[in-house]
């Protein structure tokens, strides 16, 4: 799954530390999400979308390999 967290975070003017503090998670969690190593839970993704004033789909984008069955 691709994501635009880093891009939107920079647009909002947040540092990784600040975003981590706002979401109540660690900075490592933000780094992992931005690098695509870790997918956040649905609730964290929705809170993130709310913070960025966007929809979840605008921040997290599904890729072909994410589908269990080929479309």
């Amino acid at each position: 799954m691709k994501n635009n967290v880093a891009e939107y975070r920079k647009k909002m003017g947040y540092s990784q530390d600040k975003l981590a503090e706002k979401l109540g998670v660690s900075r490592q969690t933000i780094i992992s999400i931005e690098k695509g190593r870790y997918n956040p839970s649905l609730s964290l993704a929705m809170i993130l979308a709310e913070l960025f004033k966007m929809n979840v789909e605008q921040i997290f984008i599904l890729e072909d390999k994410d589908y269990k069955h080929p479309k």
Binding site: V25, S26, Q28, T29, S32, R37, Y38, S41
Partner: protein
């Protein structure tokens, strides 16, 4: 301490005493906790995932150790007293849990 015991065992050309393995395991725990503590102190969902995956991986590893030790004893591949095997098995279990936490903390 563990290094000293290991060294003396090598010098005496014998296998190290059982407590040597437990000391190595304690050293692994200490170093792992030093690495993990700043991350584990934050109880966020990434740490929950690391714990969950680490425990699952160690469970699988323990089953493998158990099968190996049982088979090895059954077919007399290893000739060691039960006390010695318990120490090795215990040390392996302790090390595996913490090493798997460190590996998953590096991955995620």
């Amino acid at each position: 301490m563990a290094g000293f015991i290991g060294f003396t065992a090598i010098m005496a050309q014998s296998s190290p005493p059982g407590m040597f393995y437990m000391m190595i395991a304690m050293a692994v725990v200490t170093f792992s906790m030093a690495y993990l503590y700043p991350q584990f102190i934050q109880k966020d969902e990434r740490m929950k995932l690391i714990r969950q995956k680490g425990i699952m991986a160690s469970f699988v590893a323990m089953i493998i150790y158990f099968i190996f030790f049982t088979t090895a004893l059954q077919f007399n591949w290893i000739d060691a007293p039960a006390y010695y095997l318990f120490q090795v098995f215990g040390a392996l279990m302790i090390s595996t849990v913490f090493i798997s936490f460190v590996i998953y903390a590096r991955l995620y």
